[in-house]
Symmetry: C2
Subunit: 241 residues, 2 copies
């Protein structure tokens, strides 16, 4: 498979009170890079829309964090479309420090949806051929999420105009903002995530107020984003700073 | 005066539902660039803190927008420290399209504050000498803001962990999010700003709930961000998309 590489200097506004790169910023750049690779191979999101009326949608993330990138750090990000089957495409992203250490790894699962019907489409070989991705028959089983308690910590968030992207729904990265914010300043200023699993189930539209619910059990947090129904679930493992 | 220049490709996540660069993103990159110029001249924010225990704080913006940068557009941004007097430093930013057209201009006013006392400090010549900035005696008069009506449109916003920067207060760019969001989807999806004046009066700390208040009179909007007292005021002129 082909690897797409980008050097990136972490700007001030992508870092939090701790000087660490914000989670939403990490997932913003992840999707930006997969789009840049597609564009560089002549199979951009515009091409996909014009040719098939399809769009890429990320449905799951599995993230392992050794250390978060820091303000003004020069990092290198690599991405490659690892493999695919009839329904799913698996893409990895690896963030490296200047000395070559792997800072974090994002395993992602994408599907193709038909833009008109919003239904999942079969992955055609010629759409993924340029990435030199391996075709596999196996469907990789997603993480099983633990149900939340009856009394989770919860907080409501109103969707703002600037949360909406050109697809008319809330940008994927926003969920990380809602999911972490509910944990509060004392926790967030003393802990960093080391493992994140996240599953998107249903898009969030403008005008919605979502509730971010969390059970914090030791250093593990179990998350749900709900409004009418479940929009996303996540499990995170944290460590002290 | 010395000009610092940067090329920038507008990424997906810095654009809104209209495909235009978001206002908070414009002001994020503006401050990032002034920091980069300082760093390149050997008078970085860290140097300023270590040598003088001072920090740069922006107190006013005056922005003229011909057209907002668009998703994936390659823009060039120039900045220069135009002039200074005893208390204020005036810095301009100009955003150019690839064909050389000026897209927008940001005139900014900075002060130096003493980090311990939080009080405004005198501008020492040797702090600004490396920018080759002109010393002027005149204090440029700031914009006079119209008082709001007794019945403005208003909406409350809770400060989130990710709104806080390494200085422990809400990042400057966040105010634009609160100020525009209160105008609502119908207005924001059909209008773009052409002129913005903004004045920061008091920082916003974590845990605060601010109220964004606005009077919309034709294509002019008059804004206040308040909690206990006034944190910022703004006037914007809009045009139809």
């Amino acid at each position: 498979m082909l690897t797409y590489t980008k050097k990136y200097t972490v700007p001030y506004y992508e870092t939090d009170a701790n000087g660490n790169m914000k989670l939403p910023s990490i997932f913003n750049i992840v999707l930006q890079l997969s789009g840049e690779q597609s564009h560089s191979l002549g199979i951009s999101d515009d091409w996909l829309k014009e040719t098939y009326n399809y769009a890429w949608v990320v449905v799951e993330y599995d993230v392992t964090i050794n250390r978060l990138p820091r303000f003004s750090e020069v990092i290198t990000i690599e991405t490659f479309a690892k493999s695919y089957n009839k329904f799913f495409c698996y893409r990895d992203f690896v963030f490296f420090a200047e000395n070559g250490d792997a800072l974090l790894t994002v395993n992602s699962t994408f599907v193709l949806i038909d833009i008109s019907s919003r239904k999942v489409a079969h992955v055609e070989d010629d759409i993924v051929a340029p990435y030199q991705s391996d075709k596999i028959s196996k469907i990789i089983r997603g993480h099983k999420y633990t149900a939340l308690s009856d009394t989770p910590l919860e907080k409501s968030y109103h969707v703002r105009f600037n949360d909406i992207d050109q697809n008319g729904h809330v940008n994927n990265s926003k969920y990380f903002d809602w999911m972490t914010d509910v944990l509060g300043y004392d926790f967030l200023s003393t802990h960093v995530p080391s493992k994140i699993q996240l599953k998107y189930s249903k898009e969030v539209l403008y005008g919605t107020t979502v509730t971010s619910r969390v059970d914090l059990v030791g250093v593990q947090s179990f998350h749900e984003i709900v409004s009418e129904g479940k929009h996303a679930q996540s499990e995170m493992t944290w460590k002290e700073k």
